[in-house]
């Protein structure tokens, strides 16, 4: 594993960010009635589950949660020597007229989100798609206008030790620290 330059979020901070995102989502959508949660595989899925659990706790409701495998919509498939393995999209509910909360761990180039938007729109006709990410690295050259807050920084670490199923989380170069944003697409 590469040497960490800085840890930008610890377990307690992670928990606080999840809580804040959950409240932001509720505030923006005036409750949980119209929302469905979709996590981008693989890491977004875990965060989606955490956020959904928090919202369910606060509102006393049961949310619909799905996961999205964007592999088939990637824009770099043609150049690849081998096809990435498919994990499968698992959304067994109707997206029509729903406010879809799309969740991923890190926003960087926006390519993943572009692919996710294309796939979601093929799956149904949501009323809105709102993006929630744990960390916005503040560098989105990809067209689409998705942006959270930006702050200069160098390294980030997402500590998901409290997430289910995680085991191989490392560090990656970053541009912005632990700013989690909710943005309309």
């Amino acid at each position: 594993m590469r040497k960490l330059k800085a840890q930008i979020i610890d377990e307690a901070g992670f928990e606080r960010t999840i809580t804040r995102l959950a409240h932001e989502i509720l505030e923006k959508n005036k409750g949980a009635e119209s929302i469905v949660i979709v996590g981008i595989r693989t890491r977004g899925e875990f965060i989606a589950r955490r956020i959904a659990r928090k919202i369910e706790e606060v509102e006393g409701v049961t949310l619909k949660i799905g996961s999205l495998d964007i592999t088939l919509y990637r824009d770099d498939l043609l150049g690849k020597l081998e096809q990435p393995q498919l994990k499968g999209t698992d959304i067994i509910f109707d997206l029509n007229d729903k406010n879809v909360i799309l969740i991923d761990d890190v926003l960087y180039t926006g390519r993943t989100i572009r692919a996710a938007l294309d796939e979601l729109i093929d799956l149904g006709r949501p009323k809105t798609i709102q993006l929630a990410v744990l960390v916005d690295r503040g560098h989105t050259p990809h067209p689409g206008g998705l942006r959270g807050e930006k702050r200069p920084h160098e390294f980030e670490r997402i500590d998901q030790s409290s997430c289910q199923g995680s085991g191989r989380r490392g560090c990656r170069p970053a541009h912005a620290p632990g700013t989690a944003g909710l943005a309309d697409s």
Binding site: L72, Y73, R74, L78, L81, E82, Q83, L86, K87, D118
Partner: protein
């Protein structure tokens, strides 16, 4: 973990991991087929030529649909009324099609080994859609997918292939694939339809269908191919039906739930009785649907391997 091969010529010699990868990938495409928009973009910009030198409706349509649902551009080609009837060789036909910048070729041909020859003369990925009496790998893969979907596994199951084994490429591919996946495979038919040395492939041979039913989990019932002069292999269709037809009485006597597969098109009341073909044990129409997903998986996995 990618496929170890650039072409899909047959299941003979294909490893367990490769078969497993194709079947697992097909699960994702099966989900795509349930969506309101049944189309995904991974083969955008690729061109696939379907070269069918032999008649086919089901397989050709299934491949074509799979290609379109992956957003590939599709070239159709049928031997009748084409340059083949003007005497062009397979090599020249294929090279001319490839000159149009085709990335993948799906071929059916009446000669066993034709796709094996093709990979030596062109660069494109080649998928065998049936070569003579040799192999029909995508049919066997969709059969295995369907059995796995219905029964949850392949390993340890007993699958019996009933009918004209000697002239069946479907039987051969199924035997190779199922054996690799750890199933017990048997064949059943009159001795005129069973190759003498078939046991060398590691299958059990039965000449009476009632002997095999008590232990079998799935029956793959082959079509009696009247167009290939099947009439000389047994006295009458009625006699064949009496001895080998899969009927409700036979299945009830066996006293177990047996999954019924058939590669189609079916001859009702010849190799299979109409009520069995339409019963809840029959997965014949699921096979057709799964065929599209399995072919999508094969095209997707091979498409990057140039």
């Amino acid at each position: 973990m990618p496929l170890k091969t650039k072409h899909l010529l047959g299941l003979d010699g294909m490893g367990r991991e490769d078969i497993q990868l194709i079947l697992d990938t097909a699960v994702s495409f099966r989900e795509v087929l349930e969506r309101p928009i049944k189309k995904v973009p991974p083969l955008q910009g690729k061109t696939v030529a379907n070269m069918f030198f032999e008649n086919s409706t089901r397989t050709r349509l299934s491949f074509e649909l799979a290609e379109r649902r992956l957003s590939a551009d599709v070239l159709g080609f049928q031997a009748t009324g084409s340059s083949v009837s003007k005497g062009e060789t397979l090599k020249d036909t294929a090279r001319n099609i490839e000159a149009m910048k085709v990335d993948m070729v799906v071929m059916r041909h009446s000669a066993a080994g034709a796709p094996h020859y093709l990979v030596r003369v062109i660069e494109a990925n080649v998928i065998n859609a049936g070569d003579g009496g040799h192999e029909h790998p995508t049919q066997a893969l969709l059969d295995m997918y369907t059995i796995r979907e219905r029964l949850g596994r392949l390993e340890g199951l007993h699958v019996c292939i009933v009918g004209d084994i000697a002239h069946s490429r479907v039987a051969r591919s199924n035997i190779y694939g199922l054996k690799t996946m750890g199933a017990r495979v048997s064949v059943c038919g009159p001795s005129t339809m069973i190759p003498r040395d078939i046991a060398e492939l590691g299958v059990d041979v039965y000449h009476h269908i009632d002997d095999v039913l008590p232990t079998v989990d799935a029956l793959n019932v082959l079509r009696i191919q009247m167009e290939r002069d099947a009439g000389r292999l047994f006295p009458t269709l009625r006699e064949y039906h009496n001895f080998y037809g899969v009927t409700r009485q036979r299945l009830e006597k066996a006293g177990r739930a047996i999954t019924i597969l058939h590669p189609g098109p079916i001859n009702r009341d010849v190799e299979i009785s109409a009520d069995v073909a339409d019963s809840e044990h029959s997965v014949i129409l699921q096979q057709v649907l799964n065929g599209v997903a399995v072919r999508m998986a094969v095209l997707y996995l091979l498409s990057s391997r140039n």
